[in-house]
Symmetry: C3
Subunit: 262 residues, 3 copies
Amino acid sequence: MNPSILCERDASGTIATVTLSNPDKLNAVTASMWRELTQVMRRLHEDEALRCVVIRGAGATFAAGGDIEEFLSLRNTYEQARVYHGEWVADALNSIVACRHPCVAMIQGACIGGGLEIAGQCDLRIAGASASFGAPIMKLGFTMAHTELAGLLALAGPATALEILLEGRLLTAPEAYAKGLLTRVVADAQVEQETYATAQRIVAGAPLVARRHKRLVSRMSSNSSPLSADEIRANYDYLDSEDYREGLAAFLDKRRPQFRGR
Amino acid sequence: MNPSILCERDASGTIATVTLSNPDKLNAVTASMWRELTQVMRRLHEDEALRCVVIRGAGATFAAGGDIEEFLSLRNTYEQARVYHGEWVADALNSIVACRHPCVAMIQGACIGGGLEIAGQCDLRIAGASASFGAPIMKLGFTMAHTELAGLLALAGPATALEILLEGRLLTAPEAYAKGLLTRVVADAQVEQETYATAQRIVAGAPLVARRHKRLVSRMSSNSSPLSADEIRANYDYLDSEDYREGLAAFLDKRRPQFRGR
Amino acid sequence: MNPSILCERDASGTIATVTLSNPDKLNAVTASMWRELTQVMRRLHEDEALRCVVIRGAGATFAAGGDIEEFLSLRNTYEQARVYHGEWVADALNSIVACRHPCVAMIQGACIGGGLEIAGQCDLRIAGASASFGAPIMKLGFTMAHTELAGLLALAGPATALEILLEGRLLTAPEAYAKGLLTRVVADAQVEQETYATAQRIVAGAPLVARRHKRLVSRMSSNSSPLSADEIRANYDYLDSEDYREGLAAFLDKRRPQFRGR
């Protein structure tokens, strides 16, 4: 099978599943897959009916890294590396952050290198107990691009980033959880069920609120400058939404709210 | 019973207990309680004899959130929301940070929404094993105010903030501990004892040192600009204190120090 | 035995062990030891053949703090404190950060005050299960210098810093691990073996990559300004290295790489 990014919807049209697929290489992410991931995520971003994106690997692994064979031809000079990391990889990672919908990583097996970078940009990470995590690129003789390291630092802090990069060990799922890399660890057999249960919990909330929370956390985590008056005003947009009226009414009526995304 | 903030001292006058009390609504924090909390904390800040503040809820719960019924009348427009969140809630949360005395949250039962925000501004958090944590406001159709989100981000980082806000699940106490939301988890029956034992450990230290540490951690965590010469000088004020002489003398004499707060 | 900093190499010359030695006082760090540590670390930094530094205490303890007896004569005035903390201690802590080689703390027994500060500047921390961690200086009547607090905040965040400083409790190794202070906790009898196994894993990687990762994590964690064009270019230096060619070749040949550090 050719390396590719698959994308499908559930019957309701509210949950999209994006699959990293390169089954001959444990879903190693090729240059074409990085670029395709960007395109897929940008299309999902535009889809107003959607409420949640699940990102997973084909089969029972997430992704074992970038496609190292390609490096000899596609990332062999500084000019190439600037395009490979500064555009292809960075655009793909940014497209997950910039996607208006919450993204949940469903993690089985290897979540390494580029795989860890993709999972790290998702909003939640549900992992199976036997999944493994790391970026042992010191054994390959190269450094993590600063644009990719930024995400690892934001998620796990400098001590865990240094452990991963200097020691090159793979972390177990319980270790990765203890160090803040994961939202939750469940039995391997439960990963898919728990991931979609998580997606359903997200879908049950007001979608405008989810989008606003995702954007606001990103803004406040990546930029220490105070919010502008417009940014502050935007965080109160819910006051003009039908969903806010519905949320309060449902609470006071002790019933489940029905949010319509407006 | 009317919603209110109760405040009492122990016999020694060194520990104050502030109680969020709205027993008919699991101590949901009303607008008047937010404002009263500010007044109470500001008074405690001025009390030089005090050495520690415990913040708890009435009965066996901390606080289940804001008072949602009030939102229909008190937080229904942008102008109202600016006052409600930007003044009443923000002032109350800031009054905990600005209080010169260390503040310990004693957490039983529900610690949700506004309750979580209050606990998150305390300096230490002691929780019972069956306490629960979250802010499932996506089910109510509204967004966390950025002034309140800032505290959650500072305490728990973006990944945990997103989990709480996007998924709307309540976290168990062990989950909240693993994610950095709590100082310690103990058996439910031990929460009160452990909280006051913690307060006593704080009281046993030099009070000027506690105040300086609280202010310095806040300053360095919230503002990345270098300390001014005056700020640096102030951190060495202990050199002129009686308590520093007493601390060193007691250490060298192998006895307990008796600090007098000067 | 006189207080001193010992330094020795393993047979291969790739791993140096730096030992904090003041056995009569649980390796309490004297002013002369702080200054000697700076000199030792600066020499190791210059040694291009080296690949990893282990920092440990003499015997079965790391270091129980600074040497408090000395404070009466050496840190009794503001001018003295500026030299003691702003030069002697700060230079020593900075020399660990500035050392080009990865540094691993091997922690047994007491890791307190100045000991915790030294361990906190290392890149990885391997601790025995019965080690203990803290900085109960509130019992001694003095404040942590802001230059030292900065490292604790960067490693563990404000909540754990406040717990340590306000409550003055010693944390157990499992507590310290849960709060992000440690890379790994192992049985006491395994600390030495696990520390040197960790050092060997570091040595097995490309040394230029380790140095670059250490510097890049430090740069991006301590300074939020964007990288300069030169800094970005430097992160791709590996493209011109023999070790990068060797790393890719070994991966594709499915053999262990032999890195020569160039």
